[in-house]
Each structure stands twice: as C-alpha cells, then as structure tokens.
C-alpha cells in the first residue's frame, strides 16, 4: 500500500512538473521569438501563409463580416496588393470577437500582416511593441486631419492610419418635427422641451444608445465633453450635470428606459420604425435609412449645454496597422496600407462604410457629393480621440462610465452617487 501511494504521488508530481515546465517554457519561448525579429518561420509565418512561387501571400484582419462592406474592402485590399506585387487574404471576424482573437494572436506571435483595430484599442496594442511605426516605411502622413493622426499615435510615433472616420450627430424625423412645428434643437434646454413635445403614445421623442458594450460611453461622450467634463475626473460637477441631463430625459418619459439595452443599431431600428422622433447616431446608418420607404430624415449637430458652446464629439473609425512580422512582409504591407489611403480608395472605403475620408481633400469632395454628410465633415475636423488624454486607461473608464450611465437611468443611483462610484473604481 505504501508503495502504491508513493508511486501515485510521484505520477501526480510528474504531471504537474511537466505542465509547469511547459507553461514556463512557452512564456519564455514567446519572449525569445519576440527578440529574434526578422525570422519569418518562428510562428509569425504560420498564420499568414508562406511564399508561393516567389510572391508573398499576406493576410489582412478586420471585422467587416457583412456585405457589402466585406466585398468593397476586400476589393480595395486585392487591388492594392496587386499593385504592390503580392497577394492578400481578407480574414473577417465578427466585431465582438476581434479583440479576443487579436489577443490570442499576440501571445502566439501570429498577428496578421495588416491588422485593423478600433481606434481606442490602438494605444494598448502599440504599447506591447507588436506594431511597426509607420512613416519610416514610406507611408506619407501628410494631408490627414490632425485628430486622426493623433488617434493613431503612441509615444510620438504613428502606428495606425484610418482610411475613414466618423462621429455622431442628431438625426431627426423631418415629418414628425414638422407636424409638431419644431425646428431641430440646438441646446440642451431645447432638446428637453422638443423631446417632450414629440413624445406621443405612438413614439418617444428621443433615443440614444446607453448600453454597456462601448456604444453607451461613445454616445454619452458628446454630452460629457461639451459640458466640460474630462475623462480623468468622472465625478466632476460638469460630468454629473451631463449624466443628470441624460437620465432626466428618461425620467420625464421622453426616452425609453430600454436604451440601456440598445446598441446604436437598435436605436436606428427604433427610429426607422417611427418609434423615436430623434436619435443620436452616425452616418453609417444612412445607406440603411435611405432604403426605408417614406422616411424623411435630417441631420443636425448634437445639442450643446448653452447656446454658442462648441460641440465636442468623439472620433470613430478603425485604424489599420502593420504588425511586426518580417521585413519583406512589413514593407509589402506598408505599401498596401499606403495604397489603401489614396484619395480614390478612401472615397470608395468611405462610401461603402458610410464614413468620412481621413484625407482633408477627399473629405471635402465627399461633402460636395453627399450634402447630408456635410455636418459630419465639419465635426470630424475637431473630433476628439477617446484615448488622447487617458491612453491605455480608457477601457476601464469606459466600463465605469457605462455602469454609471445605466445606474442613473434605471434610477438605481443618483447621478452624483453613480459618478462617484465610477471615479472610485479607477
């Protein structure tokens, strides 16, 4: 019996030992392959595909899974790849799964050759050292809106470029507003009264996303920033006022409490079905809205706290980056990236996505071609990047802000208490 017990203990110990060594070795090996840059075979090449008949085969990763965006972006990628003398595969992952996948690829050093990231995440990924700085690879950084370049910058170097950007504005139902004899509101006070006037048993006056998936914070930021709030002091009086205003819209019945469960696409559905007279949303909804028969919509700037104040809106859009792989692949990828950001390609990308091109010249062109985008073009020039002030701390702030938003709207906490809790969680 004693022999058996010892044997069993030895076996268990051996298994544990093997696992610990494996775990330690794998973390060590990923460290060593990070330092041996320029060796294409060490894991980095596996996911991206190897050379086939001399031509490099690159992989691009994004979250444009649905048509027609998937095809348009794929077309641009292919054309640019051909121009650079390589082939490219487009790997589209659904939006909520892109970051988990990127994290896995980070740990195994199998990042694709061209990686698209939502701009708030660029700081985190650049901080790891897994991305190559652009500009040194011959990517021309001139002619872009400064805010966009800032969004893709980490510690003074540019790591990501966004071919298209966007922001949010007030979109309203022209028919409903005309019927109530109202012009689009420009201040908070006007928004409050107009929303109340437009609320009938058939529809709410106003709708905006307040969910806990990133879109709630995104939609709340214009109110937060325009009132003078800053992300490092969530419990400032200005921040609390902004939250007070938004939750008062629900309390007064002008906005549904369900906004805490709605993403921007849900808000858009409500608006399209005539369940909300005004909404906060972005230009990417226009292709969908245009298809809705009988719907006449208008675009206006987001209302500001007091007349004449500047509207401060967040900068949206995805940046494309070139992860560290091997020198020939990085150079080819940089060429593709530069080609993607040409004026023509930016216009095509923007049209497919409902975005604004990030080159000022192309943006002015699109304002002329599609007048309804004009307000956004003006906004985008002064839009603020979410990570400009707080960098890698943004995800935590976003979570806290959305919790506070939901707590105040559902009446679980007062806006003051909610924001204090949010600040305390930092």
């Amino acid at each position: 019996m004693m022999v058996h017990r010892r044997r069993r203990a030895a076996l268990a110990g051996a298994i544990l030992g093997v696992c610990l060594t494996a775990a330690a070795c794998s973390s060590a090996s990923s460290a060593s392959s990070a330092s041996s840059a320029g060796s294409p075979g060490s894991g980095a090449g596996t996911a991206s595909g190897s050379t086939a008949g001399g031509k490099l085969s690159l992989t691009a990763e994004d979250y444009f899974t649905a048509e027609p965006t998937h095809n348009v972006v794929g077309g641009i990628l292919n054309a640019c790849a051909a121009a650079a003398g390589v082939t490219i595969t487009q790997d589209s992952v659904a939006n909520p799964q892109l970051m988990p996948k990127v994290l896995q690829q980070l740990s195994a050093h199998t990042l694709p050759d061209l990686l698209m990231l939502d701009n708030p995440f660029l700081q985190q990924i650049a901080a790891t050292g897994a991305l190559t700085p652009l500009g040194s690879d011959g990517v021309d950084l001139g002619g872009y809106y400064p805010s966009i370049v800032a969004a893709g910058t980490y510690q003074g170097k540019v790591y990501g470029l966004a071919p298209g950007v966007n922001s949010i504005a007030l979109i309203y139902n022209k028919t409903m507003l005309a019927a109530a004899g109202i012009t689009p509101p420009t201040t908070w006070a006007e928004l409050k009264t107009d929303a109340a006037k437009l609320t009938t048993p058939q529809h709410y006056g106003f709708a905006m996303s307040a969910d806990n998936d990133g879109e709630g914070a995104w939609t709340f930021l214009p109110f937060f920033w325009s009132n003078g709030g800053d992300l490092e002091h969530l419990n400032s009086p200005q921040a609390v006022q902004a939250l007070q205003f938004v939750s008062s819209l629900v309390k007064s019945g002008s906005m549904s409490q369900s906004v805490v469960t709605w993403a921007q696409s849900d808000v858009n559905e409500q608006f399209m079905a005539g369940k909300a007279a005004m909404m906060i949303n972005g230009p990417w909804q226009f292709p969908v809205l245009d298809q809705q028969a009988g719907l006449k919509y208008g675009v206006a700037s987001i209302p500001v706290p007091t007349a004449g104040a500047a509207a401060k809106v967040p900068l949206g859009g995805e940046v494309w980056t070139v992860p560290v792989t091997s020198t020939p692949r990085e150079q080819a990828a940089a060429k593709v990236l530069a080609c993607m950001n040409s004026s023509t390609n930016q216009l095509a990308y923007a049209k497919a996505n409902g975005y604004i091109p990030s080159l000022e010249s192309a943006a002015k062109q699109i304002a002329v071609q599609s007048p309804q985008l004009a307000p956004f073009v003006t906004e985008v020039g002064t839009a603020l990047s979410r990570t400009a002030e707080v960098g890698t701390a943004y995800p935590k702030i976003q979570t806290a802000m959305e919790t506070a938003l939901a707590a105040a709207i559902t009446g679980q906490q007062t806006p003051q208490a909610a924001m204090s809790a949010a600040q305390a969680a930092q």
């Binding site: 058996h4 017990r5 069993r8 268990a12 794998s26 894991g43 596996t46 996911a47 992989t59 990763e61 979250y63 444009f64 899974t65 649905a66 965006t69 998937h70 595969t89 487009q90 790997d91 992952v93 659904a94 939006n95 799964q97 988990p100 996948k101 994290l103 896995q104 740990s107 195994a108 199998t110 921007q264 696409s265 849900d266 858009n268 559905e269 079905a273 369940k275 990417w284 909804q285 292709p287 969908v288 409902g354």
Partner: protein, 276 residues
C-alpha cells in the same frame, strides 16, 4: 379486458399526448419565433408579426447559398468528435465504475474539475499548442478539440450508468474465459446502451454548438462550422436577422433528425432482464 377499460387507457394516452404537445408548444415558443422571423424579410425586434403573413423566402435563399458548406463541416466535425469521445470515454467510464481503487476518486475529481474551467481559458491555451503543432485551420484539429468537450462529461455520465450493472453478469462472462476487452464489448456495452446513447447525444450537441474553438482555432474562412459562419450576416451596423434565423432553422434540421433517431434507442429495463 373489458372494452370500457381499454377505452379509458387509450383516452389516457391521448390526453398525455395532448399535454405533451402543449408542453412542447410552450417550451419551443422561441423556436417558433425563430421560424416565424426567418420567413419575414427584414425582420427586426418589433417588425416581426405573430404570423408570417407576408411570407418571403429570401432569408432561406441567402442561407442556403452561403451556409451549405458550413453545415456539412459542422455535421462532419460533430459526428467525428462524438465518435472519438465515446471511444475514449466508454472504457474509462467502465474502468472507473467497476474497478474501484485508490486512484478512482482523484481521477473522478480531476475529470469534474476540467468541467469547471471556462471554455475561453482552454481555447486560449489550446491556440498556442495548436499553433506549434500546425493543427490550426484543420478539420482533424477541430474534431479533436470538440471531442474534448464531450469526454469528461461522457466519463462522468456513463460511469454512473455502468455503476449499476450487476456484478454477476460480468463475473459470468469472466468465468466463461472472456478477456477484459471482450467482456467490455460484448457484455458491458450492450447493457449500458442507454448511458452510452445519452452520452453520445450530448457529446454531439456540445460539439455541434461549439463556438469558442471554432473561432479560436480557425481563421480566414478556411474551416468554418455553421456557428461561426452565421456571423456573416451580422456586421457591426447592419444586422440581417432574417438570414441568421433561416440559417439557424436550416442548421437544426439534420441534427434534429439525428436526435429523433437516437432517442428511439433509449429503451427500458435492460438490466432487469439480464439478471433474470
């Protein structure tokens, strides 16, 4: 039997059937809603009416044209994973049920602990391993990974069924001179049929509905089970629910057929008969 007695028995079973159908209707109402919205083009949260008055098959057309191959992939992987799971787990379950020893308890507890680990944690570690073994983007790789979903569960479940096999029938086979493998195959397996089928059923379901491994271990549309392919219709901004629901409905049909077949084999009271 007097005729009126037979009549009430028939009435009783018909009443049971009606009750069963009512239960089915209540439990499956969301499924009805899924079918309902799959037949209404442009379905959203509230534009879906209770009955599909304006029938439209565009959702099914989209689903069939894009997801056909994915469905086949899902079925192939799920069936293979189930087979692997049962082949590996059944002997283990028998060993743990009928050969108790000091290591039985730790092994069972370890098996139980594997079920407590979040799937994403396993997938993250598995990604690195698969990458080094070049098993990424391969159907055999996914088969092995999905089998791991069913093995611990099958061991625990089949073990509890096999525990009640009477020792005498095994002893009888042993006295007849059969070797352990023969005993297992000709005595234990037939007698534990219910347990094995139930375990196979759930191993199939776990493998079929797996999403985490499909997402982690594949890229660039190389190997795409339907749980992953369905996201094709869900962009960030435009979510086409009609083809999503149509895909869900289409995906369930072959799997449901398999389930109906399998359920037939769960018969009753085999052990009782064997003792006699």
């Amino acid at each position: 039997m007097p005729p009126y007695r037979a009549a009430t028995r028939q009435q009783k079973s018909l009443a049971s059937t009606v009750l069963a159908l009512v239960i089915l209707a209540v439990m499956l109402f969301p499924v009805y809603w899924m079918v309902n919205s799959s037949l209404q083009p442009g379905a959203t949260s509230f534009t879906t009416s209770w009955l599909p008055v304006h029938l439209g098959l565009s959702g099914y057309r989209q689903a069939l044209s894009t997801q056909g191959g994915h469905l086949v992939t899902s079925i192939v992987i799920a069936l293979a994973a189930t087979a692997i799971a049962i082949v590996v787990a059944a002997p283990a379950a028998y060993a743990l049920a009928k050969f108790p020893g000091r290591s039985t308890r730790p092994v069972l507890m370890s098996t139980l602990i594997t079920q407590m680990i979040p799937g994403i944690v396993i997938a993250n570690s598995l990604y690195q391993t698969y990458n080094s073994l070049h098993l990424l983007n391969s159907i055999p790789g996914l088969m092995l990974a999905d089998a791991s979903l069913g093995i611990p569960f099958s061991i625990l479940l089949m073990r509890s069924f096999m525990a009640s096999i009477p020792g005498e029938i095994i002893e009888a086979a042993r006295v007849d001179g059969a070797n352990p493998l023969r005993i297992f195959l000709s005595v234990v397996v037939p007698v534990s049929r219910n347990g094995i089928i139930t375990a196979a059923l759930f191993s199939f379901l776990f493998a079929w509905s797996d999403f985490v491994f499909a997402l982690t271990l594949t890229s660039a549309n190389t190997v795409t089970p339907v749980t992953l392919g369905i996201y094709q219709f869900l962009g960030s901004d435009v979510k086409q629910w009609t083809p999503v629901m149509a895909t869900a409905v289409l995906a369930s049909i072959p799997a449901a057929a398999l389930l109906v077949l399998a359920q037939r084999y769960i018969a009753s009271g085999i052990t009782g008969g064997a003792v006699k």
